[in-house]
């Protein structure tokens, strides 16, 4: 449940704030190579989700992320884990 919500939130940020074409966004899409994000874009995404779900993501955790699905995995473990 949380993962689905986060995935939806991530997609929203990608489309609304970063103007990524909605139909290019899949769970397997590489955020950098396929969707064209840069490091500042990634921070924009993370901050939006951090605020919405009252979670915090460290730089080390972010280094693991290259696809949208991975981002959703990491973030969903945080939700409910105590904010």
């Amino acid at each position: 449940m949380a993962r689905e919500e986060i995935l939806t939130a991530l997609k929203e940020v990608l489309v609304d704030k970063l103007k990524v074409e909605a139909d290019t966004i899949t769970e397997d899409a590489n955020l950098f190579e396929d969707l064209g994000l840069d490091s500042i874009d990634l921070m924009t995404v993370v901050m939006a989700v951090e605020e919405r779900f009252s979670i915090e993501v460290s730089d080390e955790e972010l280094e693991e992320v290259s696809t949208l699905g991975q981002a959703a995995d990491i973030l969903s473990t945080k939700v409910g884990a105590g904010a």
Partner: protein, 411 residues
């Protein structure tokens, strides 16, 4: 001394309160239309000034895909659109020239003020952790020049002049240098500004710099008129294509005019008030004429800085008399129509000056009803005028005491 490399203007791209694209812009100038009206960008409740000259209906999506414009603040968006229009006007495909020989110099007086205001609110009301990560590259004044180069691939000299309302004057002067000294063949140059924001409107109002004619915005900007009471805030961008004459001729470009010289000085007297005798401005014009290798008598039109402030217009009048004597050539201020585009003022007035040379028609000073004995000039009142003009001079002055004069000649 070896002959200097000549500088042509081959394209004009205005995005202004009176028109986007050179056709609509010049049409508005010829018809003496005002771009001023009630502020629509935000609620002006509580503001002593409630009007400005906004660029209506501007949408960057008409010029660039959203993904590419996502980090462009309005001043950068306007500059990008103006650059695109200027390149099109010049018949120049950005892919054609050697990218290392094309530079960009776009000035701005203030930069991305709106996003600073907005994010400061986030900082104070939410949390430092909510301040957006791309704030700095969005607000910085040089973002416009940087983004234009990124989108078009121009790898030559790239910079931003910041000298308040003289910013685009300095950009044009810098472009001349870069072409003359062989550092580049083409410079995309001009200015941009988008600071019709709550903070800027409040600040200029507090300084009593703005007209308070809230009941009649279109009549508020009245340079050299006895009843002027301050300038009208404007926004917009005008970008010009300055091109080495040899390069322009080789590609068969239409030469719109030639940039013959410029003069740069400082008043060195006061941060915001012009030198009361206009000496710095006069010297800038004198140096520009000398650089252009012509005399004051050759000038057929003066495009004044003429902001419609009580002091500024008098000082400029004195400066003009110092250089041109008792009977100077016709002088007009297009700010009567466009409002004051601050960092984009010089290049916007230059757009009208160039069209004036091309069509042998002088832009009017609209809203001119009551002559001011302290501004005893032929201001081309209210109606554009056909007139023989071979050479024109364009003034841009800025807070800080900066003076720029640029001389152009008929192609």
């Amino acid at each position: 001394m070896a002959s200097r490399r000549r500088v042509a203007v081959t394209g004009i791209g205005p995005v202004t309160p009176i028109g986007t694209g050179i056709g609509p812009f010049w049409d508005a100038v010829l018809n003496g239309r005002s771009g001023a009206g009630p502020v629509t960008a935000f609620d002006t409740e509580g503001f002593s000034v409630k009007f400005a000259a906004e660029v209506d209906d501007f949408n960057i999506d008409d010029f660039l895909e959203p993904r590419k414009s996502r980090r462009m603040e309005r001043f950068t968006q306007l500059a990008y659109a103006a650059s695109k229009l200027a390149l099109e006007d010049a018949g120049l495909d950005p892919k054609d020239p050697d990218p290392e020989r094309v530079g960009v110099v776009i000035g701005t007086g203030i930069g991305g003020l709106y996003i600073i205001e907005q994010q400061h609110q986030v900082l104070m009301e939410k949390s430092p952790r909510q301040v957006i990560p791309d704030l700095v590259p969005r607000l910085m004044g040089n973002a416009a020049a940087g983004c234009v180069a990124i989108e078009f691939g121009f790898q030559g000299p790239n910079e931003c002049s910041t000298s308040a309302c003289a910013s685009s004057g300095h950009a044009m002067a810098r472009a001349v240098d870069l072409i003359r000294n062989g550092r580049a063949d083409i410079i995309v140059c001009g200015g941009t500004e988008a600071t019709i924001t709550p903070l800027a409107l409040a600040a200029f109002s507090s300084a009593r710099a703005l007209s308070r004619r809230n009941d009649d915005p279109e009549a508020a900007s009245r340079p050299f008129d006895a009843d002027r009471d301050g300038f009208v805030m404007g926004e917009g961008a005008t970008v010009l294509i300055f091109e080495a004459m040899d390069i322009a001729e080789a590609r068969g470009a239409k030469i719109l005019c030639e940039v013959l010289g410029y003069g740069l000085t400082a008043d060195a007297s006061h941060l915001v008030m012009p030198h009361p005798e206009g000496t710095g401005a006069a010297t800038a014009m004198t140096i520009a004429l000398k650089d252009a290798e012509i005399t004051a008598g050759d000038i057929g039109y003066i495009s004044a800085h003429g902001t419609s402030t009580p002091l500024g217009d008098v000082a400029e009048t004195l400066a003009i008399h110092k250089v041109f004597g008792d009977s100077p050539p016709p002088v007009s201020s297009t700010k009567s129509m466009t409002g004051h585009l601050l960092g984009a003022a010089g290049s916007t007035a230059m757009a009208a000056t160039i069209k004036g040379l091309m069509h042998q028609t002088l832009p009017p000073t609209i809203n001119y009803q009551t002559p001011d004995p302290k501004c005893d000039l032929d201001v081309v009142p209210n109606t554009a005028r056909e007139s023989k003009v071979d050479f024109a001079i364009n003034n841009a002055f800025g807070f800080g005491g900066h003076n720029v004069s640029v001389v152009v000649g008929k192609a």
